[in-house]
Amino acid sequence: MKNNFGLFIVIIFLSFCFIIFYKGLNTPNTYAPQMDEKKDIPTFKAKEFDSNNYLNSDKIFEEKIFYIVNIWASWCVPCRIEHPLLMQLSKNQSIKLIGLNYRDNYKNAKKFINDFGNPYSRILIDEDGTLAIEFGAYGVPETFIVDKNKKIIKKFVGPINMEIVKEIKLIIK
């Protein structure tokens, strides 16, 4: 009877360990960013691409409209793929696109904009990538939707596609 109880305890204990490890191994060990968490836009000061003037974030997001913050770089190939869609989005009057030029060379970035068009109402220079970190980004391209209350309501990691454009249009409606 005593031996059976011991065996029972051991089986329960092993089963418990098995469940813990099984669950642990099944959970992906990679970073999955939070896409829908509402966060305030960071407060920052950034250099503007064309004027070289420093702007405060409250000056950048001053209107009560939706903003799309797009992190891009001339060396980023997926940025070229999403660029026509950004051009399409820029025609929408109810949103403004803010470009964050990430760890780029000015000349190359200028050439990129001249070649493919400028969808942004403002481009900010993020020379050392710290501005992207303030937004919680981890690469390029990355796109954030900022609502009228200055909250980041959605983020898209990687190049945007037609589906995402439809989703953005639905959100800003």
Binding site: F13, Y31, Y102, R103, D128, G129, T130, G136, Y138, G139
Partner: protein, 122 residues
């Protein structure tokens, strides 16, 4: 000649003390960077990685240290941006209870078995 000697001694001591403080700052910064996970790398810390993401994190940690933020404040800032996963040293919260308490439970369970066995032998 005496003046020159004094000058050399003062110059060297100031120079070396500056180097020493730089070294100390680097050590402090590296300690923080080693505890931050590179989110786009496979099992690498920000300190070990040369990726764009890691370089950006290195820059922001540098900036925050210069602004006077302490180690815990920098971790808090990064946790707010990327969640608990970005720091290697996990905090005790509802998601990490099992991680922190399981070893303790195992220790107590094993200890109880040994204690019981020893008692039985007596």
């Amino acid at each position: 000649m005496k003046f020159l000697k004094i000058f050399i001694i003062v110059f060297l001591s100031v120079g070396f003390s500056h180097l020493k403080s730089d070294e100390k700052n680097d050590e402090y910064k590296n300690k923080i960077l080693k505890n931050i996970r590179c989110l786009i790398c496979q099992g690498q810390s920000v300190y070990d990685s040369e990726s764009e993401f890691a370089s950006s994190i290195k820059s922001i940690v540098n900036k925050k240290i210069k602004e006077g933020l302490k180690e815990e404040q920098i971790y808090k800032f990064l946790r707010e941006k990327y969640g608990d996963w970005v720091i290697y040293d996990p905090k005790l919260n509802k998601n990490t209870y099992v991680l922190w308490l399981l070893p303790l439970l195992l220790f107590l369970f094993g200890g109880a078995i040994i204690f019981k066995k020893l008692n039985n032998q007596k």
